[in-house]
């Protein structure tokens, strides 16, 4: 496991343990995970998960428009930025 991955994994486990202790729905867990990134410094983040045969779950956190204080929304439109890169070397 790279140092970067390891760092995130530990942060994630700590955060998710806290989340699991007080929240139950998948949407809540997804939103709480996104909130970890917002508290780290990302302006906003959104995510969706769909398991086979299940309904998709959406969540958002932070700001879509940081300057004007407009919250991120699960139906926000964004560019499909897809220039791949590897994780930074440890």
């Amino acid at each position: 496991m790279s140092a970067r991955t390891s760092k995130w994994f530990l942060v994630a486990l700590s955060g998710l343990a806290l989340i699991a202790s007080c929240q139950t729905t998948k949407s809540d867990r997804l939103e709480a995970a996104l909130q970890i990134g917002v508290e780290k410094g990302y302006p906003g983040a959104s995510a969706a998960i769909e398991q086979a045969g299940g309904r998709p779950i959406f969540a958002a956190a932070g700001y879509g428009d940081l300057e004007h204080g407009i919250a991120s929304r699960t139906h926000d439109c964004f560019t499909s930025e897809a220039s791949p890169k590897r994780s930074a070397p440890s």
Partner: protein, 189 residues
């Protein structure tokens, strides 16, 4: 030309796209020292992109680069929503969008990955990584236009995951989406 490759390492954000949908989020570029440290002179920012007064993220000013024309070179500037991205992922990973032969080619990056150490990754037709929660096949990336997006498939749980962050300049947004957010969605090991 609005996108200029000044040299092999240098992009120039010097023009704006004419319009984007009203529903679009604002793309933020964190004007971090890291940009010049890791990629010396990687980006020349035009003065048309202003720092947002009073907004500092991790010690760096942020700029609204939503309309940076440079972003059109990623995915042809296609704009989407999470719902549409999931729909595309459904067709791509589970549906009939591709022939079986093409799908195998697409997913080849994940072959044998489960036997590798956690943290291992590949970039083939798709990207694949061995995460603590199993193998993830994905495509993701970022752009100075201020967005990072990931579309992923987790074979173990047959789950499709789509996510984005409206920033560029932290250089760990993709890792965060896969290591924290996707983990919360598909479950801890």
């Amino acid at each position: 030309m609005i996108l200029q490759l000044a040299d092999e390492r240098k992009l120039s954000l010097d023009a704006k796209l004419p319009e984007i949908p009203d529903e679009a989020v604002v793309g933020w570029l964190r004007h971090a020292d890291g940009i010049s440290i890791r990629y010396r002179n990687f980006i020349d920012l035009s003065p048309i992109f202003k720092e947002v007064e009073g907004k500092v993220i991790e010690g760096s000013p942020v700029l609204d680069t939503t309309l940076a024309a440079e972003r059109i070179d990623a995915a042809a500037g296609v704009m989407s929503t999470l719902r549409d991205l999931l729909k595309f992922g459904r067709a791509l990973f589970r549906g009939d969008l591709l022939s079986e032969q093409s799908r195998r080619f697409l997913m080849a990056a994940a072959e044998g990955m489960a036997d590798l150490d956690e943290g291992e990754s590949r970039v083939w037709a798709m990207q694949a990584a061995r995460k603590p929660y199993g193998v993830i096949v994905y495509k993701g990336g970022d752009r100075p236009g201020g967005a990072t997006a990931v579309l992923a498939f987790h074979p173990k749980s047959d789950a499709i995951f789509a996510a984005f962050v409206n920033s560029f300049g932290h250089f760990d947004e993709s890792d965060f989406l896969l290591d924290v957010v996707c983990l919360s969605a598909v479950g801890a090991p």
